[in-house]
Amino acid sequence: MWLPVLGLLIGLLLGFMSDLRIPPEYTSYLSIAVLAALDTLFGGIRAQLQKTFDDRVFISGFFFNILLAAGLAFLGVHLGVDLYLAAIFAFGVRLFNNIAVIRRLLLTKSSENQQAERN
């Protein structure tokens, strides 16, 4: 449980230490990529809790989603249509869904634990 959190902290630290900046015209791509990454991450956590986790699906989904989202944003910029909104909407909805499922799973787990303790 603590390893992913540690990873997140190390990543944040590396990001802040490196003082890397993205040119302003590419910030929208990065933000959408971050959203896609977060979505995949929460999807992975949900799959882990539901015991349907598959490494290959997780890793391929992580990179493929990021690339797809950035590609969609790129296409949108060149077509003059705000296609990145589609990605934001899809990922946003899925993010909320995943988090809701994770919350329910954790709640049922804790109530099961409490019942087991009582018994």
């Binding site: 959190v5 990873g7 990543g11 590396l14 900046r21 990529a33 971050v34 990454a37 997780f58």
Partner: protein, 233 residues
Amino acid sequence: MKRRFKFFIMTMIVGFMLAVQFHTNQEPIVRDTRDIWELRNDLESQKTTQQELFAEIYKYEQLIDEYSKSGTGGQLETLEETLADLKNDAGLTEVGGHGIELTIEPLLNDEELVGKPALSIHPELLRRLINELNGYGAEEISIDGERIISTTPIREVNGKTYINDKPISPLPVKVKVLSRDSDKLHKEMLTSQSGEDFARENLLLSPKPVDHVSLPAYSHQIRVKFMKEKGET
């Protein structure tokens, strides 16, 4: 264990991306890069502004003093003085003094212009000229006998240029300018941008220093649209 390690890598990437995104969105800190001379200059200009403000405050304090000190007759006198001052500031009185006189005339001889329509002065040219004169420290301006005040309209109607709703007379047209330092204004007008702009329209703008110019008063009613009379306090 392997699975956890993969999760670890993923979260690290996410964290890195988040940090970079955060970094990018942070406004860079604007640093004060003025050196000592620039700071001194800025301080100097601020001090000048302060001086001017003090002078203004002093003037108004004196005015208040006069109002409160003198009797009814004196108060009336002070009020009249103030009114006269305000009328002077608004351009409702005739003024005279040191200044320059600009003449706008055709750049080329009349013979060379046979068959061409009569030249007219475009309102934009006049506006630019007024801006430039004000920039060089002109105090009062009149164009073709029309006093320029803060609300003077300069527009084009059916190909004719109107100042204060009166058509401008045919060339040559005289522009009279009142200035405290007329020599400097004259020299600046000799090499002015307006001269170039007028030349581009086949017009010659020639400045001439004059010991005494007299500017007519603004002869029309000043319409005040966006002000209201203040009630009794």
